[in-house]
């Protein structure tokens, strides 16, 4: 049972435009969400996170939106740059008491074209 789903395996965007990456979850106990960026043959890099008490968190070009009723979150990158091309993973955690384990989606490959 896949509790965190990233239904788009890939996304292609033009440089300077907005990239929107989506993530859905099924476990209502999840209350903390993270986005990671991963280049080939490297470890994932933490990008941004959001707690369930918020519906938006912003950090520079990256904004994460959380819709708890829909069990949906999205990552917006504005403006998109060629260096943003990577696989983006959505992850979720059920705090407290989960030992801070993360459940990951399968990832979305973002390609930003110059």
């Amino acid at each position: 049972d896949q509790q965190v789903k990233q239904n788009s395996p890939s996304l292609s965007v033009q440089e300077g435009r907005i990239s929107i990456l989506n993530c859905d979850y099924t476990n209502s106990m999840f209350d903390y969400f993270l986005w990671y960026k991963k280049y080939p043959a490297e470890g994932p890099t933490f990008l941004i996170s959001i707690s369930s008490i918020k519906d938006k968190n912003e950090d520079g070009r990256f904004t994460v939106f959380l819709n708890k009723s829909a069990k949906h979150l999205s990552l917006h990158i504005v403006p998109s740059q060629p260096g943003d091309s990577a696989v983006y993973f959505c992850a979720a955690s059920a705090l407290p008491g989960s030992n801070y384990k993360l459940t990951f989606g399968k990832g979305t490959l973002l390609t930003v074209n110059p």
Binding site: Y36, E42, G43, N99, Y100, G105
Partner: protein, 113 residues
């Protein structure tokens, strides 16, 4: 600042051979430590996690084991590798004021032939 190291970066092993992958963290104490595997075309699967020395929890029954002999050292092992053990192995840590955020090492690519 905190850093996490993994070695080796790449490993090619024959079926039936043993395995030992090492992960160490610097710049923090008593971290939570995690081992993940990423198989081709799939997400990150949590294999083991540890909240302290000698404390190991297994998430998936498999051919692998983990140990934490020191506070900032996490080891992934196997006595006999299978072809299905091939993949990209990632170690991660969390700790301090942000236990909910995990930081990953550079990974080890394992190919079992």
């Amino acid at each position: 600042s905190q850093t996490i190291h993994q070695w080796p970066a790449t490993l090619v092993q024959p079926v039936g051979s043993p395995l030992s992958l090492e992960c160490t963290v610097e710049g923090t104490s008593n971290p939570n430590l995690y081992w993940y595997r990423q198989a081709a075309g799939r997400g990150l699967q949590l294999l083991f996690y540890s909240v302290g020395i000698g404390q190991i929890s297994s998430e998936v029954p498999q051919n692998l084991s983990a140990s934490r002999p020191q506070d900032r050292q996490f080891i992934l092992s196997s006595k006999k590798l299978l072809l299905s053990d091939s993949g990209f192995y990632l170690c991660a840590w969390s700790g301090g004021r942000q236990l909910e955020t995990q930081y990953f090492g550079p990974g080890t690519r394992l190919l079992v032939l």
